[in-house]
Assembly symmetry: D2
Homo-oligomer: 496 residues x 4
């Protein structure tokens, strides 16, 4: 019995949310490797709540545990950690994008290679994963999962290089897309970030031992020191030498390109206390609220965040506008798993399962609701209705990011394009009417860029990737655009 990210439950029901699939963590040479990995994954839990896996190597054998549910449900009791001995460890926490919740898809994946075992975990998506899978199968490989990670394992296995590091780089050169990856062998911990740097990955250190993880909050929980971001296109290979010392070798196998971090990490995914690309996420979100207050001011009595995502921007909006910040919506944190498949009667209570209006702060007031983003708009509609029923005289919505028009192909699970609010309406007025608000405004692209990086968008060389807003994809999309789909796969489905 597990709990989903509470903030997504009623959105879940309507598909009115975005999901990022994964968080990764790896550590080399530490006696408490598995425990530290469990704690790191716990701090990264907001990036995926459905399942978590850890692999360790104890000097002789690899060990793995994979579990459905929260890290804290399984990986903290002595019995489980006792099954994960060793000083090298990588871990992964995931959100399942499909109905398939089978353990066999839970990362890290492991393979026995000629040069020894290797385990890999990744966050993100390969835009040529299917193309590569078909090539591999055509030359006699067998694929036992639907995971892109398995493709990476095959590419490594097939490399003609003798060292694992060279093989890994060989594989990396063939992959396209947006990803952050950690891998481990019997002596190495390897980290890699895609050439454009779409997904984040940072390097840290604890007791002189190297750590790689998706966000800095996973360093903070264990008291590890932040060293630097893994650079876009970089592969960092850490190895325990014969004398016990650790060597670090950083390479850039691909042609250098400018970094373009995913803006949605700032808007929604990353934890507010994380530092992503050198910028504090909470500050970026508060700046979005400040810029939004400047771009789309409104006369009102209270600024109310849509919890919890909208809170930092709402604080910024309130400070910039001088309108008081109040908790006008109270969130119920005790939303259990089965609310996802409730009876029709219960489903009808929708948004109220998670949110309730705090009437004393709403009644008779002009309310500004601040949210982080709008995907389909169905949740916004229900929240506006709830606020009106609580007696608000006016309801104004301010969204701390631009309108979403395009799908993502780098690991964010987006609804079908025609389900997006922005694509269902001709103009802002129509959207506002659909949602039932008195006014509706989105932050501008430039407002967002300035909130995050201090400067407006450089249209020639954009500082970030913003394709869901603009359609400007930072890589080619081979699987999507390829004209040679090859034989249809008849992959195995396992319901349990």
């Amino acid at each position: 019995m597990t709990h989903l990210r509470a903030a997504q439950i009623e959105d879940e029901m309507d598909g009115d949310t975005l999901h990022e699939e994964c968080g990764v963590f790896g550590i080399l040479g530490h006696p408490d490797a598995a425990t530290l990995t469990a704690l790191g994954l716990h701090a990264l839990q907001h990036r995926g709540q459905e399942a978590a896996g850890i692999v360790t190597f104890d000097g002789t054998q690899f060990h793995t545990e994979k579990r459905m549910g929260l890290v804290g449900d399984h990986y903290t009791d002595p019995a489980t950690l006792a099954k994960l001995p060793g000083t090298i460890s990588i871990g992964h926490t995931r959100y399942s994008t499909t109905g398939e919740v089978a353990l066999r898809n839970v990362q890290p994946l492991f393979a026995e290679l000629e040069v020894g075992g290797i385990a890999i975990a990744h966050n993100g998506n390969f835009t040529n994963g299917l193309t590569l899978r078909r090539q591999i199968i055509a030359t006699g490989a067998i694929c036992q999962s639907t995971s892109d990670t398995e493709v990476v394992l095959h590419l490594i296995a097939r490399s003609r290089h003798s060292s694992t590091a060279d093989r890994f780089i060989d594989a990396i050169r063939q992959m396209e897309g947006g990803y952050s990856m950690v891998a481990m062998t019997r002596t190495k911990l390897i980290a890699a970030r895609d050439p454009t740097g779409i997904r984040p990955l940072v390097m840290g250190e604890l007791d002189g031992k190297p750590i790689f993880c998706s966000e800095t909050c996973a360093l903070d929980i264990i008291g590890a020191k932040y060293i630097r971001d893994v650079e876009n296109g970089e592969v960092v290979i850490c190895e325990i030498e014969a004398d016990g010392s650790i060597s670090i070798d950083a390479r850039k196998p691909n042609k250098p390109q400018p970094e373009r971090l995913c803006l949605f990490e700032y808007v929604y995914f990353a934890r507010p206390d994380s530092v992503v690309g050198g910028r504090n996420v909470y500050v970026a979100r508060k700046n979005m609220g400040i810029n939004l207050a400047k771009e789309a001011p409104v006369e009102a009595d209270v600024v109310v965040p849509v919890p919890d995502g909208g809170t930092p921007a709402a604080i910024g909006f309130a400070q910039a506008s001088g309108i008081p910040f109040e908790l006008g919506i109270i969130r119920n944190h005790y939303v259990g798993r089965t609310f996802i498949e409730p009876t029709q009667q219960i489903r009808a209570f929708g948004v109220k399962l998670k949110h309730s209006a705090n009437r004393a702060m709403i009644e008779g007031k002009r309310v500004v609701l601040v949210d982080d983003s709008i995907v389909r708009g169905t949740t916004s509609l229900k929240i506006v209705q709830m606020i009106r029923e609580a007696g608000a005289t006016e309801v104004h919505i301010r969204v701390a990011s631009p309108m979403i028009f395009y799908p993502d192909f780098y690991g964010i699970d987006t609804p079908d394009r025609d389900k997006l609010l922005a694509n269902q309406h001709a103009d802002l007025a129509s959207m506002c009417k659909f949602i039932g608000a008195d006014s509706l405004e989105f932050l501008s692209i430039d407002g967002l860029y300035r909130a995050v990086g201090g400067e407006s968008r450089n249209d020639t060389r954009p500082q970030f990737t913003d394709h869901y807003f603009t359609g400007d994809y930072p890589t080619r999309l081979l699987d999507k655009n390829g004209d040679n789909p090859g034989p249809k796969l008849s992959m195995l489905a396992s319901k349990s």
Copy 2:
């Protein structure tokens, strides 16, 4: 596998928290009785996360389901609700005060009486429960649980009155303490509140059918209308008549006394959007912060709430002081159950499992931490340490309630008296030093009274009960002070 109130996890480890044991809900004559009870209990989940039970009557037979875990984990799927047919229903959600988490202690309890079946659920505690239990056993009754509710059932069964209502009142007259109770028979829904009105209980209405529940938030979730509070010492008996209409009969069997609601409902237990005793809880908490800012001002750069309990008071403190409100502590909502019995290694990470410092809002700043209350102080100590490690130049703690000196006997689970911070130190300076803060201040009793009710404490006839602060208990304490403990009970322990 269940999830505890996330806000209590690391306190759990140290026992540094207060628990209220229960929330209750009842509805009469509604075709969706069980579904509405499940939703009501979901809204009351903050009053108890360990287990929940529902009883219904379908015109012929009583039905019950009891489950460990969150309401949303079990009571929303069609299969479970299908086992609870009928139009009368009561439910209960509980926090276990003891190590015993056995289902047999989960309420509501049921008994077959001569006049028919009766089921009862209550929130609170009887101060003469053990005394009554011994009297009952001495006259040939058998007790199969350690629950006070079983004692109520015995008193009802032994009454010489013929009507269930009269029997219920007969039982009520013998009970002392602080409690709110809902009961149901084949045709009746009965609600009762203790003579002093220590625990809250409200009456509502949906589709013309009466509802009783611990807080108004359970009415809001189902769109029910608030009618009035059940008065202190009142017993309200609702009955379905032969013609299908519902009669309501309100009685006051005990000698009238002034109401004294528990102040901790305002300080900590009730949900911020609930209206308790006619007062919005969020507003009361914000007022506590405002009064605290006046009583104990401090020069600082940011006001940081200890989430989530301290947030409303921190907003009030910030507004009153003009110091900016910022989320300087980020809370991890994904804390799983087994963190309660973690390995020693993981236990060492303590407060960080749930809280992390948001360095960008802390570093180089003078920080005011606002918390709702301090019990043992062990958590405060760790939070101060965490804030200092994040680079704060000063850390000032402001507590939005007075110092706690005395135990509760009305349903709040308090640590041993000598574990309370206020009893371990001679003065405020010593406490402040223990916690490691630059300054530490508590709200005054009068400041709290004014925040809640607008007026200072009337020392002759206090408007609320504040015994944990003052030692002024609103009832006699028979079990505690009785000099005739009787034979020692050798009650049954069941570990599973």
Copy 3:
């Protein structure tokens, strides 16, 4: 996930079987009390497979564990036994006669009395249980289960006697029916058998410590010595004295009557290696087969037992007739629980899920099938069909007990009277035709009496009870025949 008595599975589907509800075990003063109780219950598992419970007393507190499923699934691992400390223990294994499989009905039951705690487990049924329950409720008691054991607890609690032993005897005097009972207090182990001695109960000894259990096989497994049968109408009270010695006090509170043990213990329920009423069960069953061969001889090629119940009688039949004994039916021991609620497709395979014909021993042969008893006949019908399909030229059925005409009221769960084969057909020929056999014969009443006790039935004072065959009930049937049913109970149903 538990396993039912494999021999009953496909009968289960058709209700074509008899069930006995329980086995009991108790031991006093032994350091391994819980472990020995678990082993004793394991040996008594054939008397009930659905759930098992154990209570112990550790000198200060009572402890209990109750589990659905086999004893060997739960009660043998160190963690469970560690929860059952103490030197006094009783245990119970049960078959559920109703759809209610809730743990709250699993015995032993416990109650806190004025004189201290008491736990009781029983096998059998009270013929005035409902009558007593109504009397008790009418005088102010509360009943929380539907179990007769709870009634016993109430009678004990209400007794005016001061000693538990006297109270127990007081209660026994009011109970009618067929039962064997073990009870324990803080210092005593008490055993009781009904006045007619319908259900078996034996006394044994291990390391000088007294044991009571349903059958001698529970003594054999732990290497305990058989002392004697508890006599009909006897109450045996064993107590640990202050000096650690154990006193034994045997009483006969009811008017003496001749013993009449249940013949079905010999026909079907007891384990073949048990000694019941001084007679080896296997020998009795073999004698039934021998007598059957004499009463109903047949020319045939092979004697084939219907496994496993029919095997001893088939061996006797083969030895007496000179026809070879062969395993013509092979039994599948791996029948899992869910076969009880299978898909319709699987249900259609019926008897084959458990039994298969061993064609090499059947084809072209005249077959005598020997079974222990026939209840509804639906299983016999399918087995005959299976044997014919395997190529038998003739199929003769010989049943090692008489025809069943009447229901039991002493703890055997019998189908509705009109579902019994003997009540659905005018004569033997019609039954034989229904089942599809070439001939069908039942053992005579006298043949059965001689097989068990050596002598024909004494019609004036029958040596056993044989009411299911003859309608001659050994006690009055108050609940069944009472003309004053009182108010209808609206008992609580719990599905889980």
Copy 4:
């Protein structure tokens, strides 16, 4: 929670037993494919009780379900079968030879090939599996399990042939050892048996649709017709043609050799009602008992089988010797899983957890115990002791197979060679003394050959394989004897 083959439990504790690893089943073109596969696996449950898996293809997609535990625990409820749509199905039931009970090792295994998906299940073992695995890994494949089946998948994937059938045969040509295999693609069901025919495999037919399974008992349960044995070295390819008809293509890719079926199938593994190699197993076992009575007669009062394995031979022994056959040992069928890891106290009760002496048939008698085989002898020792304690005056052991001296490499899990009774003692007298019997005799090799096939062993061309008795292995043993072990694998261990 699952149940092991009860007959192995206490042997389990001492490793005093042989295990066969698997049973397989496949069907093509039937609308109830998954249901029939579940029933077939249920009938084959004696070949493996730890886990079972089923794969189906529904015309578009492959589906699989894999579960720990008995077939009847999982695969008969509608919900599970609903997840397995389609008309082609294969299934597998296994006994785990190692501590690894992870689901990822449960067969059938599936792989996506260039030509489409393929699923494979096998019974037996490859004597060059490790050698092949190293070759495959050396050329860039990744291995994700420790299963030989994965090696077969790789060989198929790497074949240069275009048709799956040709690829399958290509793979088969490279495998050495003893195995029976079923495989399925989108349109085909393929069966294969090793060149020597060590493991059994039969072909049947239901409603005109082909079936392959390990034993005929899996045909009997579903009412399917036995067609013929798959011949040694044969590959049978059944395919659904475009018009819905089914084509059958039988090939023999390897050089023809004489068949040598494993004698242990007759001695112990196969179900008594199965026909293996054209011979009824029960008859073979009875013949073993008859031959044993002739070879090693003894004066005694009763013949007692060690249940259940020794029963057919005991019947033969009794018939040939004229000594009465009696159930002198009663078996407890309700042995739960956790008896495998019991407390030390419970472990001490050893053989009694499953077996008890039926004193009435033992006391004062000269007893002949007939068992099917002796592996380590530790169980025999305990049984003799139990029989003596029950009062036997003499105990003679007769074993219906020869002494075991050598390990198996074809799928039977044998203890270390020096743990075998026959290797621990210089002669029969020493073994007899160790076991504590008055006499001990084993069936001769020729006696066994005549019991099974009617003729003595042809030492030039043995009719069966009997390597565990004689050391005469029917194939080369590449993995065992290879002098080039290659790099040590660091395979992944998963404890759950």
